[in-house]
């Protein structure tokens, strides 16, 4: 009876594995066709932030700024159109000096027209584009170094096919989050990179817990069908996976809604990362070893080999 259940479960698992593969393709299409909207940390340039006492629409503010900045600036509003961020590229001529002109000019027209719009400067950042280039190299290097060390550690601790499963799940999670950022065009800055690295940690955490269970059941020699083993392992860790993901998602949702604009992208990335991470630990990390030919008697074989030694 349990075998029939397991077979049905494996069918779902296979279906969701192919669904995950489709999602990865979709994310890759987004990454290659649209690219990432790299933030100031990566591209270099100026970021100016100011607040206004009245809320304005994006268009109104854009019209007001056009005489000072010309073409080629990016405007984003927050907190109901009272907090503004402006990104200007580093082309050698633009700087933050325009803000002072803008503020004094606005205050002058206030006197003339008796409107009461006041602007308060909040933050002014200059980042040399060279820094950006360096950060791309550093960030890429960090990701690569993390991946290689983790793969090595897991291969030593587990069977290589289980390690591969964890790493494939990891790629799935990172690619999906990057794809999401590409499709939505959300600015990709250093805090997002930090969240990607946190996602790597979480995704591995989930995969390891499932892999650990698979290893345990295989060693106990009670089952001889790999399908049953994997289904059993997933079922016995499912409650834990759901509770941990659930409470973590709740805290991240709290950051998303209450921690303010500067952690917005960060929490979006983490939220989606943990969602897809939970999905992949069920659909991918346990399925890949099976596809790579992991058999139920792997650990028994290993023991026999050891026994054959004179």
């Amino acid at each position: 009876m349990s075998n029939i259940m397991s077979n049905k479960f494996s069918k779902y698992r296979m279906t969701s594995f192919y669904l995950a593969a489709c999602l990865v393709v979709f994310a890759l299409v987004g990454l290659f066709s649209r690219g990432l909207n790299l933030g100031l940390d990566f591209t270099g340039g100026y970021l100016t932030e100011f607040s206004t006492n009245k809320s304005l629409t994006q268009q109104q503010m854009s019209d007001k700024l056009a005489p000072y900045l010309g073409e080629g600036f990016q405007l984003s509003a927050a907190e109901n159109g009272t907090y503004w961020s402006i990104r200007t590229p580093d082309n050698g001529t633009s700087s933050n000096a325009w803000l002072n002109d803008f503020i004094s000019a606005t205050n002058q027209t206030n006197n003339a027209q008796l409107s009461d719009l006041t602007i308060t400067a909040q933050d002014a950042i200059y980042i040399g584009s060279q820094v950006g280039e360096e950060l791309i190299n550093q960030g890429g290097l960090a990701l690569l170094a993390a991946l290689i060390t983790i793969l090595l550690y897991l291969s030593i601790r587990f069977e290589w096919r289980l390690a591969m499963g964890a790493v494939v799940a990891l790629f799935h999670d990172v690619i999906l989050v990057l794809g999401l950022f590409a499709w939505l065009g959300i600015s990709f800055d250093l805090t997002i990179l930090a969240s990607i690295l946190a996602i790597i940690g979480y995704s591995l955490n989930d995969s390891i817990i499932v892999g650990d269970r698979i290893r345990e059941i295989m060693k106990s020699k009670k089952e001889d069908d790999i399908n049953v083993i994997i289904s059993k392992a997933i079922k016995s860790t499912l409650v834990r996976t759901l509770i941990t993901s659930g409470t973590t998602l709740a805290t991240i949702a709290a950051i998303w809604f209450f921690a303010g604009e500067s952690l917005h992208g960060f929490s979006v990335a983490l939220f989606c990362g943990i969602l897809v991470g939970t999905y992949s630990s069920i659909a991918i990390s346990a399925t890949v070893p099976q596809l790579l030919g992991l058999t139920a008697d792997y650990y028994q074989q290993q023991e026999e080999e050891l026994c054959q030694l004179p």
């Binding site: 050698g92 400067a121 909040q122 933050d123 002014a124 950042i125 200059y126 980042i127 040399g128 060279q130 820094v131 360096e134 550093q138 290097l141 960090a142 170094a145 993390a146 060390t149 983790i150 550690y153 897991l154 601790r157 250093l190 805090t191 990179l193 930090a194 690295l197 946190a198 790597i200 940690g201 591995l204 955490n205 390891i208 817990i209 650990d212 269970r213 016995s236 860790t237 409650v239 834990r240 509770i243 941990t244 659930g246 409470t247 973590t248 709740a250 805290t251 991240i252 949702a253 709290a254 950051i255 809604f257 209450f258 921690a259 303010g260 500067s262 952690l263 960060f266 929490s267 983490l270």
Partner: protein
């Protein structure tokens, strides 16, 4: 026979609990100053050295500078000096018909006639003994090169960075900022965080004073090749010896003052090397003028580094000078003040340019703290309520362990001198809560499984903790690897996140496994009929 063994186990457990309790009390103590607002912690606390966590720039407001140190330029300048030295030495050793020229920033070449080999080999030996860092390579019978090996280049760069960092720290002290964080970033960048500074211009003028000070002798022979020409403050051309007598890096201290007549001057004291150079030089040159040249580096419109030099003082040497002497003839006392400040701030052997400057308003910082704490409180409350509802008595144990975890983390952060709390750090704190919960969930689910298999509660608890431990270890070690890599490669905010992640893994392993196990044993002392909703 059974009794003594049990007693021993009990004693073992007591010791364990005692160590746990002491560690927790220490952590609580270190975390204590964080619960007082506006540095109002009582005196006895601060006297014992307990301090609250340092806030990062994004939380406290302030200015961030990233400086680029042009070590290549410094290397090239150093080689230029060596070329001059070799020319002088060649004259001393009567090695004639010699042509010394710089090939690139790390190599110089010497062309010479094939005759008079002895003088040449003596000269080359002398060069190598003065500059042991150079490597001699024979190109042909009439040409050799001296160059810095790759290893020596790295060493030179590291030493230049060390020197520049020291100078920068000195400059920041001059500004009276004590909370500053000055650290090396990558190969040749320096990151300076100045919390609480809201007017970057003053800081920028001092830190970004990419200035160097050099003391020159007026050239005796204006037609010599080893001279350079520079305009003084009246627009007159001065001809100086190309090699400086000594540079500002030899200055130990400088104070503005007045002589007996009341005219302003600057009192200088030099370090040992500078003192020796000065006393030798001044002995030979009493009555002749010495020129102080202030040089500044800046980037022109083509983004090239340009050096601009200006004479700031021209004074007559009146007697043989030692390590302490004065620069007289200052125009005004404010000029003397300015010069002494610049001299104290030290000169840099490598030109420095500001590549990143960021000003963060303090109000934004206050908002950020409030927001972060609000998010943390809400997130933690949701988790605590859920755990208490789902696992009942064991859930309460987990919640106490979680509280200890947060306190330990705060304590560790306050203890570590380099630890700074940033906004992504607060996010890391929230993630740590998630991981701590995960540790307990893993254990409790295991205990449930053991109970379902028919184990008695006490042995189920023991089994649950033991078998969950390897899983927890594997999972946490991989996250730790990510954290360590992030910490070693990332900067600023990312570093703050990575630090909390790593410390959080340590504290959550400690509280989630050891503390909660001890607590569980305290709460459940006998085989209760029902645990986690499963009857045994």
């Amino acid at each position: 026979m059974m009794k003594p063994v049990k007693k021993q186990q009990n004693r073992h457990a007591t010791w364990q609990n005692l160590i746990l309790a002491i560690t927790l009390i220490l952590m609580l103590f270190s975390a204590l100053p964080n619960f007082y607002q506006d540095n109002n912690s009582p005196n006895w606390l601060s006297e014992l050295g307990a301090k609250p966590i340092k806030l990062g720039l994004d939380l406290s407001g302030g200015v961030l500078f990233v400086l680029d140190v042009d070590t290549d330029r410094a290397q090239s300048d150093k080689l230029k000096d060596i070329v001059l030295d070799i020319k002088t030495l060649a004259r001393e050793y009567k090695a004639r018909a010699i042509k010394v020229s710089q090939v690139d920033s790390v190599t110089l070449k010497i062309d010479f006639a094939a005759t008079n080999n002895k003088a040449y080999s003596q000269l080359f030996d002398k060069v190598l003994s003065i500059y042991p860092e150079l490597t001699k390579t024979k190109i042909s019978n009439q040409q050799i090169t001296f160059s810095y090996s790759d290893q020596q280049q790295v060493k030179f760069r590291q030493e230049t960075m060390k020197q520049t960092l020291k100078t920068m720290r000195g400059r920041i002290e001059e500004l009276g900022i004590t909370e500053a964080v000055t650290q090396k970033q990558g190969k040749n960048r320096i990151r300076i965080e100045l919390p609480g500074v809201h007017n970057p211009e003053e800081a920028k003028r001092i830190i970004g004073a990419t200035a160097s000070l050099d003391f020159y002798q007026l050239a005796t022979n204006a037609k010599s090749i080893n001279v350079k020409r520079i305009r003084d403050e009246h627009g007159q051309w001065l001809t100086l010896n190309n090699k400086a007598v000594f540079s500002g890096s030899n200055i130990k201290n400088a104070r503005a003052g007045q002589d007996q007549m009341g005219s302003p001057l600057v009192n200088l004291s030099l370090d040992a090397v500078g003192g020796k150079k000065m006393s030798e030089f001044s002995k030979k040159n009493i009555g002749s003028p010495m020129v102080t040249v202030f040089s500044e580096f800046y980037r022109n419109t083509n983004n090239e580094l340009v050096k601009k030099s200006k004479v700031i003082s021209e004074a007559i040497i009146q007697a043989q000078l030692g390590a302490q002497f004065s620069i007289t003839n200052m125009q005004s006392s404010s000029a003397a003040q300015e010069l002494s400040l610049l001299l104290r701030a030290g000169s840099l052997s490598a030109p420095v340019t500001i590549v990143q400057q960021r000003t963060i308003a303090a109000t934004l910082g206050a908002d950020n703290i409030d927001n972060g704490i609000k998010a943390l409180t809400i997130g933690v409350s949701i988790t605590l309520i859920f755990m208490a509802l789902w696992y009942r008595s064991l859930g309460l144990v987990a919640n106490v362990a979680l509280a200890f975890n947060l306190v330990s983390l705060l304590g560790l952060m306050s203890l570590l001198p380099g630890a700074v709390l940033t906004l992504p750090g607060i996010a890391g704190l929230v993630l740590t809560v998630g991981m701590a919960v995960d540790t307990n969930v893993l254990i409790f689910e295991r205990i449930k499984e053991e109970l379902r298999r028919g184990h008695k509660p006490l042995s189920a608890i023991e089994q649950g903790y033991n078998s969950a431990f390897t899983t927890i270890l594997d999972a946490n070690i991989t996250t730790m690897i990510t954290g360590i890599i992030l910490y070693s490669i990332g900067y600023g905010a990312v570093k703050g996140f990575a630090l909390i992640l790593c410390l959080g893994i340590l504290t959550s392993m400690f509280t989630g496994v050891f503390v909660s196990k001890a607590l569980t044993k305290l709460v459940i002392r006998s085989n209760e009929g029902q645990l986690l909703g499963i009857k045994s």
